[in-house]
């Protein structure tokens, strides 16, 4: 039988199948963080069950960490307690932890790929819905709840029903200033936030084949915003070259053996998908969202839809936008460049390249939050920090930060924020905050102009 990439990886991880029920799926890597793991450790303790395979777990602190003065004790008592519990639990169970300040600390979905933990053909889970990011490597990677975190602790396995399969093909060449973030925002705007539910997506076609690993991660990261558990891209030379030489990558002949196997991880010609969609790269422009879910996106030069729809109206009321309006010229006081979607070196290169020689608008509060300590190091090595400083920006320390605003990085009530993160839900970036999702380029341009501008139109001095 002809198999899809997803079938190939899934089927090699099935331990057992329950008649008329779920399958036991083996999990290769389990990533954990401070917010969704403590209750799972407590559950094990309550039942007196050991952690089954601690060497297959890697922990980091990211969701609830400050992005300034990380060398000082964390001020918020509850946050400090979560971090302490993570430390204690990892010590007790012999789990590798990249705690605050560690050279490998960072957002879980930035840290694992850059250390070579994420590899093609693996199953990988984390108590975080954006685990879909790792599918960029041709891995089956998905977010789980805390009960499932406990299940993986106890058995390195999960009970799951095999999802359906969807393929999204985008062929052609991307236009100037169109970034991977625009590609995924465009797809979600076309298909809707529930279109991927019960499915695993394979992204295929020229656009993804020609995309860097970091771009592929941005795309797969937001599969969950279509409701899909995960997205995948078939591994290729770009993937192998990215992994080679990283800390946990296979070495020597082991690497060659793995590559030979990884090359088999492609959907067979004629393999069937439950749903298929096709898009043309030429139709994609720089995007921005106007509403309160990631599917409410338009091209920068389009207008907000005018249809009669209660959900649209509720959203626009929250955002204080009018139907049919353009967002160009909209004043914005906050810009956030960060999150597991867009906080890697390429994202900061894009932003630095745009702001070089320009000045941040006086009204703008810009939070630039690299995804990991290794990204910080790379930014410094490339001198991007100097470019940002010269343009009036200051870099913060790694963490999830204003993407979910669990720490102090909260957008104030009623303020707009052009954000490179993944969710524009009501209050997501702080109570009453209004989020507009966009690429790092659009975010950088907003920070310079102090308002939303079309990145395809050169900035003219205002008269």
């Amino acid at each position: 039988m002809k198999k899809t990439l997803f079938d190939k990886v899934w089927d090699t991880h099935v331990v057992d199948s329950i008649p008329d029920g779920p399958q036991i799926l083996y999990i290769d890597k389990h990533l954990i963080h401070e917010v969704t793991s403590p209750q799972a450790f407590n559950e094990l303790k309550k039942r007196n069950i050991p952690v089954f395979r601690p060497q297959q777990i890697v922990a980091t602190a990211d969701h609830n960490t400050p992005t300034e003065n990380q060398h000082l004790p964390v001020k918020d008592e509850l946050s400090r307690n979560q971090l302490q519990q993570l430390q204690q639990n990892c010590d007790e169970h012999n789990i590798e932890l990249y705690a605050l300040g560690h050279q490998y600390n960072g957002i879980v979905h930035v840290m694992a790929p850059e250390l070579g933990i994420t590899q093609p053909g693996m199953t990988l889970v984390c108590g975080d819905s954006h685990t879909s990011t790792h599918g960029a490597f041709g891995a089956i990677a998905f977010g789980i709840g805390t009960s499932q975190v406990a299940q993986v602790f106890a058995s390195q396995s999960l009970l799951l029903t095999k999802p359906k399969k969807m393929r999204i093909t985008v062929n052609g060449s991307l236009q100037k200033n169109v970034l991977p973030k625009d590609v995924i925002l465009y797809i979600i705007s076309q298909l809707g936030t529930d279109s991927g539910t019960e499915h695993f997506i394979e992204f295929a076609g020229d656009v993804f084949e020609n995309m860097s690993m970091e771009g592929r991660m941005t795309v797969c990261n937001m599969s969950i915003e279509m409701g899909a558990r995960g997205g995948m891209i078939a591994p290729d030379e770009t993937t192998f070259n990215y992994i080679k030489g990283r800390k946990f990558a296979p070495k020597g002949t082991d690497f060659d053996t793995k590559v030979a196997y990884w090359k088999t991880l492609q959907s067979d010609a004629g393999a069937e998908f439950d749903k298929e969609y096709f898009f043309d790269a030429a139709d994609i422009s720089p995007m921005i969202t106007f509403g309160t879910n990631p599917g409410m996106g338009i091209s920068l030069n389009e207008h907000i839809p005018s249809k009669n729809d209660a959900n649209l109206e509720k959203s626009l009321q929250y955002m204080n936008f009018e139907k049919g309006a353009s967002l160009i010229g909209q004043k914005v006081n906050y810009v956030f460049i960060g999150s597991c979607t867009n906080s890697r070196i390429e994202d900061f290169r894009v932003a630095a390249n745009y702001v070089k020689g320009k000045q941040k608008a006086p009204n703008i509060n810009a939070w630039l939050v690299p995804g990991s300590q290794l990204v910080v190091k790379q930014i410094e090595e490339e001198g991007l920090d100097k470019i940002f400083e010269a343009a009036g920006f200051k870099l913060r320390q790694p963490g999830c930060s204003a993407c979910l605003a669990m720490n102090d990085d909260k957008i104030p009530d009623g303020e707009y924020c052009v954000s490179t993160s993944n969710r524009n839900f009501e209050g997501r970036q702080g109570q009453g905050s209004r989020t507009l999702l966009a690429s790092p380029l659009v975010a950088a341009a907003t920070a310079i102009a102090g308002k939303i501008v079309d990145v395809n139109v050169p900035i003219l001095e205002e008269v």
């Binding site: 991880h13 709840g145 299940q151 409701g227 109570q431």
Partner: protein, 194 residues
């Protein structure tokens, strides 16, 4: 865990689509390290105004409504994987969520906490919401064994996989099952590539 079979209850109507887990439980309340007490902050920013006063317009604050069933719009539970959303609903007193569509991760989290997500047709959902809004005392009967949900003269069947149904009925959970299969899992590891 408690067992689950048939019961009757009134319900709260919440006809909003795409209710995400950030609305169900905002991130700033995820700092606890136990599972209890999240009900207090369920739908926090809809139940309370920014000044902390009660928003009497929100359905959970309207005295005419009651019960352990929440009836909500399409694509309930989308967004973050935070199980805190399921804990908050359960802690508040909901055993059943009815919608025309559920997000995957939420659905799994709900079942793992013995909160039953019942997916019905959009037509059935509309009728149910209208009945509750017209008469807040509308009794809804859920029968897990027969996999049916009924109110007034309306009745619909719903899907649930037989394993999860057994877990709900008998109070089992996946950890028990997986741990009882550790020898199979160890045998699998012997031939596995990673």
């Amino acid at each position: 865990m408690s067992t689950f079979n048939t019961f009757k209850s009134t319900a709260y109507p919440l006809p909003v689509e795409n209710i995400d887990t950030d609305q169900i439980i905002p991130a700033r309340f995820l700092k606890a390290t136990n599972r209890e007490g999240f009900g207090e902050n369920l739908f926090r920013d809809w139940r309370f105004r920014k000044d902390g006063s009660v928003n009497s317009e929100f359905v959970l604050n309207q005295e005419k409504y009651s019960g352990s069933i929440l009836v909500a719009g399409h694509n309930f539970g989308c967004g973050s994987s935070r199980e805190h959303a399921a804990w908050a609903l359960k802690d508040f007193g909901f055993n059943v969520i009815v919608s025309s569509f559920f997000a995957d991760i939420f659905k799994g989290n709900a079942l793992n906490n013995h909160v039953l997500p019942i997916q019905v047709s959009p037509e059935f959902l509309t009728k149910l919401l209208q009945s509750i809004q017209k008469n807040p005392n509308t009794q809804i009967e859920v029968n897990l064994e027969a996999q049916t949900i009924a109110f007034e003269d309306e009745k619909a069947s719903f899907e649930i996989n037989s394993y999860k149904k057994m877990c709900l009925q008998k109070g089992y959970d996946d950890i028990d099952f997986l741990v009882s299969n550790l020898s199979k899992i160890e045998a699998f590891e012997q031939q596995h590539i990673y």
